[in-house]
Subunit: 241 residues, 2 copies
DNA sequence: CGTATTATTGACTCCATTCAAAGATAGTGG
DNA sequence: CCACTATCTTTGAATGGAGTCAATAATACG
């Protein structure tokens, strides 16, 4: 075999849930060493996608639960007359695919927002793996529960005024980045203004104006897709006033 | 023992998942005779509540998954500054409580909208029961997945115009009632205009006006809390135009 | 370097809210 | 059973917040 292939095999052997730097954010969180070993053998690792590629499409058969290893993804729904809505926005270590649990078909489409790698627990193995590793079952129930409460929060946010929605988006993103050990104040967006708008139920113009306002008030500095949060408390006050 | 008490015992013995008239809507759907027998022994049956009583409160410890036997319930969330929002509206045979899966505390409050009875799978038994009855595990994943996609649809609906939201609400309710063998055209609301508004992200005045409009256009007849759907297709057209 | 996409900014419009007042309904106690 | 009260609903008029339309500016990309 060529050295090229052998290096691929090596990679395959080397990267497991045990040594994944995201293991404390992803599924392994709360599982014992032994449990992680067990699921590590079944998890398919490190598929690579590029910007605009689909992880899955609305209507696709449910293939399994996905975990983002690197990069970001968006979850998109189409309503009855085809307007697109951004249901979710996912960071490394976050899980994706629960929209396929209800009826074996995905209710949304998932797309890479940039170059992205991910892991997968194949659908056919979930049942048996859960029976073998009860802690995994508990974790999966927890995660799907989190997906549900996250969606409820998102929905709640979208009932509020335009400025509050943008603040909610920024603060949520900031918190999630911090939890991943990244900067919670220097945010590099992978979503366009249009996509933020579709996530929040606003037009891109509103998003643009509001970011400008916040900059004018000294809450943030905005440079295209880079947002620096200057005063998180003032941002929070927008929500609670 | 008095006849009164003995009749209570009888009732307790008689009503099980096997003979429940909702068994094809509720958890037993898709489970074998044997599986149903097994869970039937663990499900707590027929608690009774009255209008305004809580099934659980936001922040309560997760006690289990509830199934409505008779009556209707609403699920309520409070946002950061205390405005109430109606997350869901539940009919007999529907399951409730998934908002407690994420972190062992309920993210929402559930209240009876009228006299209500329900059954419960206690939280402590869910794990062991799922291991014993793998089909139950699958069913629960399916149900929580349905809760997630229902919430996404609700969110999607709330991005649309006011009339479309009211139509979406009426059609969803109509479908769910039909599926339960009840009339899908003679709807007896247990929600006030205010509550419908909080469910759809509208004011009660808008809800009232829109129902009046629909009546004027011959889509429905409205008598206080009774809504008769005259022309479902015309209602559907409001959504797709 | 030039083109395509994305973002900003302004003026105007419209849909749903807000405020207000009257009318209907349901629940309670005499 | 009726009167009384609280709650819910209807209806109207005025306001305002976000959308739409449009034109320019900036950025990304080949």
């Amino acid at each position: 075999m060529t050295p090229f292939v052998s290096s691929e095999i090596k990679t395959k052997l080397q990267i497991t849930c045990q040594n994944c730097n995201l293991s404390d954010l992803c599924i392994p969180r709360g599982l014992s060493q032994k449990d992680v070993e067990r699921i590590s053998n079944i998890v398919t690792r490190r598929k690579i996608l590029h910007k605009g590629d689909y992880l899955y499409r609305q209507g696709d058969k449910f293939r399994g639960i996905l975990a983002i290893k690197a990069g970001t993804a968006k979850l998109v729904s189409l309503d009855l007359d085809g307007n697109e809505f951004l249901t979710g926005y996912y960071l490394p270590g976050e899980l994706l695919g629960f929209d396929g649990l209800a009826d074996e078909r995905h209710a949304c489409s998932a797309l890479a927002l940039e170059t992205l790698t991910y892991c997968e627990i194949p659908a056919e193995q979930i049942d048996s793996l859960c029976l073998e590793v009860p802690n995994l079952m508990r974790e999966l129930f927890r995660h799907v529960g989190q997906a549900l409460t996250a969606e409820t929060s998102h929905h709640l946010l979208s009932q509020r005024g335009a400025e509050e929605r943008v603040v909610g988006f920024l603060l949520d993103l900031s918190d999630r980045l911090s939890r991943r050990g990244l900067s919670g104040t220097e945010i590099k967006l992978t979503l366009s203004r249009l996509e933020i708008g579709k996530y929040l139920g606003l037009t891109l113009e509103s998003v643009s104006r509001i970011l400008k306002n916040f900059e004018g008030m000294g809450f943030v500095t905005v440079n295209a897709k880079s947002i620096h949060i200057i005063d998180k408390d003032k941002l929070r006050n927008v929500l609670t006033n």
